[in-house]
């Protein structure tokens, strides 16, 4: 506060001082004084200049006299202004008229002279006589003429006379001036002396223009300016304003090379869309076919404005003057502006996709024949559920095992039961040995696996089979004793009525639910309920072993790979693929099925199908991924069985909905081509009993026929 007071005091003091000084500051008078002085000097200089110029002019005039085209001007003192002025002599029309073409005999005027190119004359003189074309030599003559004639370089071709004419000195002077960039007029003086009208001696404006007294503000210093200046002065004193700010980086000028940036490669912005050109419909008098009928008019009125094909109705007027003002003008302009403003300036590649084309093109089922299409015959099983079925490798016989413990052997093509074996408990699984040189099959019942020989075998095969199942000299007992006991009937007492060989498995509440042979027919894998339910039986060594000590989850199914020493084990949710030779897990497939019911591997060994109780079927490409290549969900109830045909590109699935679906599944050797899966046929015929449908489907080798067994106690053969 004190400082401010001081400042104010100082201010007051300085004010006083300034007030004292102010009357002395009168810039106007100073400048006026200077002006006066300068004016005087200028005048004297100018007068000198005038004299000099006059001298120069006079000297130049003499030299340029002959070059002037125009008559010489005289400088006289005007009577009115008292100033010198140029006066030109009067022009007499007879003699002095400025006609440069006076001696020109050709009077055709300014017409294109090429009109006379083909004529002997070049025009007409004033008397109407032809002016003949002057003789013109050839190029050599012209050249010689230019050499001989010293004036040739100052002559030009006169189109009117069709001959070369020397240029006059005035024309040459004009050319020279033009070449030097001067005014072509020789008389033009760019340095004329200024005429001083209001300045100079005796010409000052003495009288004011108005009688108003000079306002006070002209000489009283401005109080508000002073206050403003003092505010700044105080700020500077207190250091709030730094007079010279330090130069920072930001304040320094930024330099950059404007050519360093790469020019953008982006395409030039698209031009705005053009408005559509009016057509016949927009005409005020359109053809009749464009005039909407009453129906079209009503339809147009009922549709929403967005859905209308065009936003106006064509109307017909007999004359243009009858056309009213366009009522939609403002709206249309506005929408046009919106279009211009909102139109996306990008080239949009619109995908014209037909939804039909997205559906994969599947070949017609009729082109994929043969496949089973009808039920050829049925084999009744006295109403008992038939869960187990197997077809002999030669495709002639089928064995089925029902829940009553009866195993039937019947012909595929006739369906006649030829032989039956009756056991005490229900049959869990039957499986025919895939070897062709021997013929027998395995039946899983209770804790046993029985090996049976079909009747009516030719002698060599029967002998070989008996040798395989009950060899005369048993192979040496394995080092590690197995809990599975192998009991066989000697070959001499063996018959087709009773099992030749029986395996006693560890006790289990349920019979083994699956038997599966290795392709070579030596190994047989069985799956029972409970832990360690997977057993691998080797017929040639008469030895059984459990390949897995402990498996996470209950094993549902097992499967041998058709060509490699791989082994598939399906638990409830996962399918694991083991390498039996190297004893390691290769991969775990996750089908995403909650409970796996069935599984089969393609004969090529590269594809696996897995069916589940939750109605899904997953196709795995084993080379591709652990995830399914395709998930098919087409059955309305749980899947029970899936099977690939050994030779035809077919697979079938059976379900609790009582239907069997047949698919064409073509696998390509080319790894790039995806397998082709085509649904072919839904085979219906099995009845659903107690919610259970078709338990098992098996293909007949060598023929496109299918054998199915169901809960309704029927086995069916489906033929193509």
């Amino acid at each position: 506060m004190g400082s401010e007071d001081e400042g104010e005091e100082e201010e007051d003091a300085s004010d006083d001082g300034q007030v004292d000084e102010f009357p002395e500051i009168d810039t106007r008078s100073d400048t006026e004084d200077e002006d006066y002085v300068e004016d005087g000097e200028d005048e004297s200089e100018e007068s000198e200049d005038e004299e000099e110029e006059d001298e120069e002019d006079s000297s130049e005039e003499g030299s340029d006299e002959d070059m002037h085209i125009f008559p010489k001007a005289k400088t006289v003192i005007s009577d009115i202004t008292g100033q010198p002025k140029r006066v030109y002599p009067e022009i007499e029309p007879d003699y002095d008229s400025d006609s440069s073409t006076e001696d020109t005999p050709n009077r055709v005027g300014d017409v294109p002279m090429h009109w006379y190119d083909d004529l002997p004359h070049v025009g007409y003189d004033i008397n109407g006589k032809k002016v003949l074309r002057p003789a013109r030599g050839d190029e050599l003559d012209n050249f010689l003429k230019t050499v001989e004639d010293p004036e040739a370089w100052t002559s030009a071709f006169d189109k009117n006379l069709q001959m070369d004419k020397p240029l006059s000195p005035e024309e040459l002077d004009i050319i020279r001036r033009l070449q030097q960039g001067e005014n072509p007029d020789a008389n033009y003086d760019p340095y004329e002396p200024t005429v001083e009208w209001f300045t100079g001696k005796g010409k000052e404006e003495i009288m004011p223009l108005s009688a108003a007294p000079e306002p006070k503000r002209r000489w009283v210093p401005s109080k508000w300016e002073k206050q403003k200046v003092m505010k700044i002065v105080r700020a500077i004193r207190q250091g709030r304003i730094l007079p010279n700010k330090p130069k920072t980086a930001s304040t320094q000028p930024q330099y950059y090379a404007i050519w360093n940036d790469e020019p953008s490669n982006a395409p030039a912005p698209l031009p705005a869309p053009k408005p559509r050109l009016p057509g016949n419909a927009e005409s005020y008098n359109p053809p009749e076919e464009y005039v909407p009928t009453q129906e079209e008019r009503e339809k147009w009125e009922t549709t929403d404005p967005e859905d209308r094909e065009r936003d106006f109705l064509p109307q017909k007027y007999s004359a243009l003057r009858l056309v009213p003002a366009y009522d939609q003008f403002i709206k249309e302009r506005f929408s046009r502006q919106l279009d211009l403003y909102l139109a996306p300036r990008v080239q949009r590649v619109k995908l014209q996709i037909d939804p039909e084309s997205l559906i994969p093109k599947l070949p017609s089922p009729s082109s994929l024949k043969p496949f089973p299409v009808y039920r050829s015959l049925q084999v009744p099983h006295e109403g008992r559920r038939v869960r187990a079925v197997s077809v002999s490798p030669d495709g002639g016989w089928v064995i089925t095992g029902d829940e009553g413990g009866v195993v039937r052997l019947w012909e595929v093509i006739v369906g006649k039961e030829v032989k039956r074996w009756t056991f005490k408990s229900k049959v869990g699984a039957v499986e025919w040995c895939p070897r062709m040189d021997v013929s027998f099959f395995a039946v899983a019942i209770e804790d046993h696996i029985h090996f049976l020989i079909p009747p009516n075998l030719p002698a060599p095969i029967l002998t070989a089979t008996q040798h395989v199942l009950s060899p005369a000299n048993l192979p040496p007992a394995p080092a590690v004793p197995s809990p599975v006991k192998w009991v066989s009937v000697p070959a001499a007492q063996s018959s087709s009525d009773a099992p030749v060989l029986t395996l006693n498995l560890p006790s289990s509440p349920e019979p083994p639910k699956q038997l599966v042979w290795h392709r070579k027919g030596d190994y047989l894998a069985s799956v029972s309920e409970g832990q360690a339910g997977v057993w691998m039986h080797q017929v040639s060594r008469r030895h059984s072993q459990a390949p897995f000590k402990k498996i996470k989850g209950a094993v549902q199914l097992v499967l041998f790979h058709p060509s490699k020493p791989y082994f598939f084990v399906a638990t409830q949710r996962y399918v694991r693929m083991y390498n039996l030779a190297e004893q390691k897990l290769l991969k775990t497939l996750t089908p995403g099925i909650r409970w796996i019911s069935s599984m089969d591997v393609h004969p090529s060994g590269d594809h696996l199908i897995v069916g589940g109780y939750d109605r899904k079927l997953c196709w795995f490409d084993l080379e591709l991924s652990d995830k399914p290549y395709k998930i098919l969900r087409y059955h309305s109830r749980a899947l029970r069985s899936v099977h690939f045909h050994p030779t035809y590109p077919l697979f079938a699935s059976s379900s609790d909905d009582g239907s069997i679906q047949v698919f064409h599944a073509r696998v390509y050797n080319d790894l790039m081509t995806n397998p082709l899966i085509v649904p072919l046929k839904i085979l219906r015929g099995h009845e659903v009993k107690d919610g259970l449908g078709v338990f098992a489907v098996r293909w007949v080798p060598r023929q496109p026929w299918l054998v199915s067994t169901g809960a309704d106690g029927q086995a069916s053969v489906w033929c193509s």
């Binding site: 024949k369 002639g396 093509i413 006649k416 030829v418 002998t463 008996q466």
Partner: protein, 459 residues
């Protein structure tokens, strides 16, 4: 005949026939409300036949069932179009004569022996019935199901008239020749003379030549065996060295009949060309038996030169596993039944180089046709005029238990169809034989005998 009343609509028609009852080739205006009966009356009156003969009328390969107007409406034939109607003598509908139940399925029937029916059953027995439905004889020839039997015509005069040679093929891998003595005086006796050993799989069929000198057997192993019917003195094939009890049992069975064991015969020739099961083989119609025909699951019909034992020509169909083959009368076409529910007619003379041979006629069935029978060429009571119709007729038995009578000129539907073993559900027909105006139908329910006229007017 154009003098029909003008009020009702008429249709221009031209009648043709291959029978002796030919009408003048003239355009008739037939009322469209007419049915078969009126047309038949028209033909009868026009020819002024002494005895009325019913006719069947065939329009564009279809036998007229309803009125002409209905047919035209169904086919979309205009009123102005002239129809060509072929007519032939109609047949009496088949009548059931008798039912002979069997203990097991009947796999094969033969009516070739006049006065008797021979059946082969899945229990391995051959049964002989006479026309009065009496079981004359039953001989358990095989221990396994018999798949086919045939009567071997008498080749020599050494046998008495009442004895007959029967060849049977079985699933026990052999075919056998059995001599059955049917002399009316005493009890019928049978003796298995020889067993034919070649095949390593069930034998599917056996057939004899017309002279009875040779037999042909076909098997699941793709082989066809040619045998002569002479009975050798000793075994030509050594017995199997099988230490199983099965063989012993069979021997016991055969030895029960206090007859010497059958001689084991070897084939005269083996025909190898089929690549899958051969389902049926039979001799050609010529008396010498120089040609044989066979069909198999490899979708081929093969013609064999019996003398040289080579396949002369092959007809290949596309995925039609054939179940049965029969020859038509002229011996130039073959009728085949296949599992794709069709009976096809193939021209045997055509030897095409293309992959598949098109069939002449295809008769589609609702179920698997298992057997075909054509009427024998020389029917005892067939008139010479009726052989024309005979050429076009065939019987097929199917797994739906229906035997159908077809006319090859009418391919759209069967001329007549009858269900055997009615009331017993759907029982499969496995064999049909047709001779002497009688058709024997064997199958799941035993044997049924039907009276089926063979292409002649009902008397």
């Amino acid at each position: 005949m154009a003098s029909t009343s003008s009020s009702e609509p008429t249709h221009p028609v031209v009648f043709t026939t291959q029978t002796q009852y030919a009408l003048p080739s003239q355009k008739f205006m037939i009322p469209t409300t007419w049915k078969r009966y009126q047309l038949s009356q028209l033909v009868n009156k026009a020819l002024s036949l002494p005895k009325p003969i019913p006719f069947e009328f065939l329009i564009r390969g279809e036998i007229l069932r309803g009125t002409l107007a209905e047919w035209c409406a169904e086919k979309g034939v205009g009123e102005e179009e002239t129809l060509e109607i072929e007519y032939f003598e109609s047949l009496m509908p088949p009548q059931r004569m008798s039912t002979l139940p069997h203990e097991d399925w009947v796999s094969s029937v033969s009516c070739q022996l006049s006065g008797y029916f021979l059946t082969a059953s899945y229990d391995g027995a051959i049964r002989v019935f006479d026309y009065s439905q009496n079981l004359l004889h039953k001989s358990t020839t095989h221990s396994a199901p018999i798949s086919s039997i045939c009567v071997v015509p008498k080749s020599s005069s050494s046998m008495s008239d009442d004895s007959v040679l029967i060849a049977s093929a079985s699933q026990d891998l052999t075919a056998r020749i059995t001599h059955v003595d049917l002399s009316p005086s005493g009890k019928a006796k049978s003796q298995t003379l020889a067993s034919l050993h070649l095949h390593t799989a069930p034998v599917s069929s056996v057939s004899a030549s017309l002279t009875g000198s040779h037999l042909l057997t076909s098997s699941w192993d793709g082989l066809i065996g040619l045998w002569d019917t002479s009975i050798p003195e000793t075994d030509e094939v050594p017995a199997d060295e099988v230490p199983g009890g099965e063989r012993k049992k069979r021997r016991k069975i055969t030895e029960n009949g206090d007859a010497p064991p059958p001689k084991r015969k070897a084939p005269a020739a083996v025909f190898k060309s089929h690549i899958a099961r051969v389902s049926r083989v039979l001799f050609g119609p010529d008396a010498k038996g120089a040609v044989a025909y066979s069909c198999g699951f490899d979708s081929t019909v093969r013609t064999w030169d019996v003398e040289n034992g080579v396949c002369a020509s092959t007809i290949t169909a596309s995925s039609k596993p054939f179940l049965d083959i029969a020859l038509t009368h002229n011996g130039q076409t073959a009728l085949t039944a296949s599992t794709d529910r069709s009976v096809s007619q193939y021209d045997l003379r055509v030897s095409t180089s293309s992959a598949t041979t098109p069939s002449i006629v295809t008769l589609s069935h609702p179920a698997t046709p298992s057997c075909i029978a054509v009427p024998p060429p020389f029917s005892s009571f067939g008139s010479p005029a009726s052989t024309n119709a005979l050429e076009h007729q065939l019987l097929t038995g199917a797994y739906d238990g229906v035997v159908r009578l077809w006319d090859l000129r009418s391919t759209k539907g069967a001329v007549a169809a009858f269900r055997v073993w009615e009331g017993a559900g759907m029982k499969k027909v496995l064999s049909v034989d047709w001779a002497c105006g009688l058709a024997g139908v064997g199958g799941e329910g035993g044997l049924e005998v039907w009276k089926v006229a063979e292409g002649m007017p009902s008397s």
